[in-house]
Structures are given as C-alpha cells and as structure tokens.
C-alpha cells in the first residue's frame, strides 16, 4: 500500500504548507509586504510551547493555546512597533524592515534563551502511528489534515460572512478606496497580522511536532516554504496560497522519491530551479488574482 501512504503523506505535508503560505499571503494581500519575519512568529510559537511545557507544566491544550498566543502577540507587536511606522514608505524599506525584525527576533531568542536547540515535550499522540487499510502513518499527519480543513472553512467564513472579512478583502483589492469608505486602515492591517500570527502559531505546533525541538533558526525553513509556495500558487489570493502549498508538498515528495541517493542533498536546489523556471512561463503563479493595486499608499 505504498500509494495510499504516499497520498496521505503528500496531503498532510501539503496541508501544513498551505497553512504556512496562507498566513504569509494574508498580510501580503493588504500591505504588499513579503514578510521575512513570518518564520520567526512560528519560531516564537515553538518557544511558547516549550516554556508552557517546561516552566508552567501546562497540559497539552494549554500548551497549544499558549504557543498560538505567543505567535499572535509577536506578529501583532512587530506590526505595531516596526511595520506601522514604515508602512507608507517604499516597498524596499518595508522589506528590509521585515528582514531586520526577523534578525532581531532570532538574536533576541539567542540571547534570552540559548543558541542550542530545546526539546519540546509533546503529547504522545504526536509520535503514535495508525494503520489505515494497510498504510502506516503518524497520527499527526491526520491531525494536520483535519486542522487545515477546519481552519480553511473558518477562515473563508470569516472572509465571506463578516464585515471585517469584507473590509479585508476590499483592502487587498484597493486599499485607498477602502479607506475612503470609512474602513480604518490600522484595524484592517492589525487584523491581518493577528490572523497571520494565528496561522503561524497553528502551523508551529505541527512543524515543531515533527522534530520535537525548537531553536533560534527554526523559522528559516518554513519561511522559505511559504515563500515558494505562495509564489507558485499566486500571491494575490488565499486560494493561490493553498494551491501553492499542496503543489509544493507534492513536488517535495516526488523529488524525495525519484532523486537518486547521491543527489538528494541537492533537493532544495532542484526545487527552486523548477520554481524559477515555472515563474518564467507564468510569473503570476497558478491562480491569477483579480484586479490588484501595486502598492499601499
């Protein structure tokens, strides 16, 4: 039952990547900011898990809440302290700011906690495996799929049915006009950062769940995945992010299986070359966005 195992594996990996990319795209949509600090929200979420488990001896559900709150708080504070003041400056200023925020958070953790990796004690359910029609798979793979589906449903309800969601969708189409309609810019942008932090926090649980440890550079790999997935899928819509996440997961698994053992360490290089080549043919990604303004004023 190799195939079923491969499918479950790919779908769960794709789900995780979709969650990651979604958090990045929400902020990008409104602020046109490629947020280099996004991976660090996930990393702080991981430290939230670590501290709640080792210092507070919290039960697993409290750990989850604590981790997610840590990520949300970091995201919100970074918006307040760094991104808000440079928001109406050039696109590059905003980009460099986000890179500086990322470096700052990494080194703050380095100083305050430790440069070495910390083990995060997770509930045993994360390491157990189940047998589905002969396919052996870790339970956490199924948890990821379930979580992603519910998050996607809740998020689309929020975006489609609430006033805040409407305002956010309008803002990512035409920010200035949205403001003229009386929508407070700060509110919409803060909301985007809070949701982005929430998604980073949720993905952090599963990301940390795979290695059960967290260190100051944990955020780098997921950041990169989110970048590539959103670019492939299309940066102008949440749907693009989700599609990109799944495509990336599939590509990753296919390359892992097909590449000969001697080439496996070049996997990332292959992946990015494929992505760059793809972008040459279709720079807007798989899902084309609707009308979008170039920059927020």
């Amino acid at each position: 039952m190799m195939n079923l195992e491969f499918m479950i594996n790919t779908i769960s990996l794709g789900s995780l990547y979709a969650l990651l990319s979604l958090g990045l795209v929400l902020v990008f949509g409104i602020l046109k900011l490629v947020n280099f600090a996004y991976g660090e929200y996930l990393m702080i979420g991981g430290y939230g898990l670590y501290f709640s488990a080792t210092v507070l001896h919290a039960p697993w559900w409290a750990m989850v809440v604590f981790g997610i709150l840590a990520a949300i708080l970091t995201s919100y504070l970074s918006e307040l302290a760094a991104f808000r003041p440079v928001r109406n400056k050039s696109a590059n200023a905003l980009l460099v700011t986000s890179f500086a925020v990322s470096i700052f958070l990494q080194n703050a953790v380095l100083i305050l906690v430790s440069p070495r990796a910390r083990a995060v004690p997770l509930p045993p359910i994360f390491s157990q495996t189940v047998n589905i029609y002969g396919a052996v798979t870790p339970v956490r793979n199924l948890l990821i799929i379930g979580t992603t589906i519910s998050v996607l449903i809740l998020l689309s309800l929020l975006m489609k049915k609430t006033v805040l969601g409407l305002a956010m969708r309008a803002a990512s189409d035409k920010f200035t006009t949205t403001r003229l309609m009386g929508v407070p810019a700060n509110l919409v942008i803060s909301a985007a950062f809070v949701i982005s932090g929430l998604l980073a926090g949720i993905s952090s649980i599963f990301w940390i769940g795979r290695s059960a440890s967290v260190d100051p550079v944990t955020g780098a790999a997921p950041l990169l995945i989110a970048f590539i997935a959103t670019v492939v899928g299309g940066m102008h819509s949440p749907a693009g992010a989700v599609v990109g996440g799944f495509v990336y997961g599939l590509l990753f698994n296919v390359l892992s299986i097909t590449l000969p053992a001697s080439m496996i360490s070049y996997r990332d290089a292959f992946m990015f070359v494929i992505v760059v080549l793809f972008l040459l043919i279709r720079p807007e990604g798989i899902i084309k966005g609707g009308y979008t303004e170039e920059r927020v004023g």
Partner: protein, 354 residues
Amino acid sequence: MSLLSRFLTWSRQHSTLALLMIPLVLAGLAINAFGSSLLLNIYTYFCVSLIMVLSLQMFMGNSGILNWVHIGFVGVGAYASAILSTAPMVKSMGVPNMFPALVALNMPVIPAIMIGGLIAAVLAAIIGYPLMRLSDFVGVITLFATLIVFHVIMTQWDNVTNGPRTFFGVPEFTTLTVALIGALIAIMVAYWFRESGLGLRLRASRDDRYAAMSVGIDVVRVRYYGFITSALIAGMAGGVWAHFITSFSPKAFYMSEMFILLAMLVIGGSGSISGAFMGTTFVTIAREALRQVEGTVNNAHVLPFDVFGLTEAVMAVLMITILIWRPGGVVGGQEITWPLFKRKSPIKEVEDGV
C-alpha cells in the same frame, strides 16, 4: 574655455569623489603609521566591506531591486580565487575530494582575483536574464531562492568547495594597502557607473518603470547589464576578502553576512555612493564597538549567561529606527558635494528609494 576653467568645472562636478577618497586615504595612512594591529585589521576589513557594499549599491541602489544573490557572487569570487591561487599541496591536503584538474591550478593572486570576478560575472550573465524580467515581490522572492540555491551548491559540492567544511590555506595577499587601493577603485567604478548613461537609465527604471519604458529604455536589458557589472565587482571583492581571511566556509556567504551588507547600504542610503560609504563606516564602527561590549560582558561574567547575538540584535533595531526616521538612509539619494552645505538643487531624486 581654458583648460584650467574646464578642470575647475569638472572637479566641481565630481567633488564627491574627492570628498570620499581623500579621507579614506588619509585615515588609511594614519592607521598604517600609528595604529595598533587590531585597528589595522579593522580598517582593512572596512575597505574590503566597502568594495562589497559599493558593488551591491551599483545594482541594488540604482535599480531598486533587493539583490539577495549578491553575497552569493562574493562567495563565487572567493572560492574561484582561492582555488586558482592556493598551492596544490595545500589543496590536496585540505580538500581531499577536489577534482584533480582543480588541484593542479596554481597562479599568482592578482590574476586569480580577476578571473574570480569574471566567473561571477559569467554566472550572473547566465542566470540573470530570466531573473531581471521579474519585478517587485516575485523578483525579490526568486532572488532570495537563488541565494539558497547558491548556498546549497556551495555546501554540497565538496569536489570544489570542500562542502560545509572550512577551505583553508589561501595565500595571504590583502594588506591594508591592497584593500585601500581596491576600495578606491571600487569608489571610482561605482561612481562612474552611477553617472554613466547606463546608470542613469537604470535609475530611471527604478523611479518609474513605466515612464522609463515609454521613453524607450529597455528595462530588462538595462537591469541585466547592471546585474552583471555588479557581480563582476562582487566577485573581485570576494577574491580580495578570501586573501585577507585565508580560511572560510560557505557560512560566510549567507543570510547573516547579507544582513550586514544590507545594513551598511540601507543605513547610509542605497541611492548614492556617499550613502554606501557613510553606511559602511557607521556600521563598521558600531559593530566593532558592540563586539567590544559583547566580549567585555562575556569575559567579565557579570551576567549568568553569555550574550551572543547582541551585535546583530542592536544592529537590527538600529536599522529599523533609521528606516522609520529616514527611509532613504542617512545620506539619502543625493551625493555629498562640495561645498558641503549649500542650497539643495531643485531636482530631487526619489527620497524614499531604499
């Protein structure tokens, strides 16, 4: 017009060059004569960083594209120059898996540095054309991904780079004099590039892509040439750096080093040569001071833990503060000219172009 008055007009037009180069030489001479060996080292390193930052400015400052790959080209130049000039004996010991053809190479340092620059430029020419077509965020992310491709190859290709392990035994060549001459050449080249027709077209494409296209500027081509020129100088800077450091690993050509280069350029102001110069000066001083603090705190054991990373954290805060206060950097998009304080010219470049 007499020769003298023509010379005076010329020197007034290009007073920036003198304003940057004379203090650089004077400080170099003073440190060479009176400075401690630590100061000598710092100043040499400063000059090498200046070459790197100026080559970054050539492309990034003039085109407005955040060039992540830059440090990758520095790395290519460093490895190329190191492989070309290191003695075969040392290479066969230090890099056991190296291709025999590469082990046999042995040439003087200066041509090795030149060839290193050329290799970086050729590489830029190969990968550059498709990349230059992408603008804005897609461009940024693909350039970022390209840096990672460079890093993966550098850490994995142990027949050439010794993999993630240190490449050592590179002949020492870069003294303060060499680095200073390199920096002076880099200032002239970067200045000349910025003022040249190509540089002007590139700046036009940065300020308004569509307006530039409408007056007949081939934006992709202009960026492409800028990218290659910048990579050429970056590669040479890498060579000069390699012969100063003499042993290095791929870690030296990745995010944290790129962050320092970016900080140097952005804090000073990427739009001008003066900005790149001031930023490099400022960041070098700040970094050395912070390192002293970090070292003192760690050695004195006043705190129950070591404060690794303090330098970077403070740098990041500094960078954000400056971006908030002056998004175009301390100097901004205008060059410093003689006389230092005069009425601003009515034509202003885009102030917030980082």
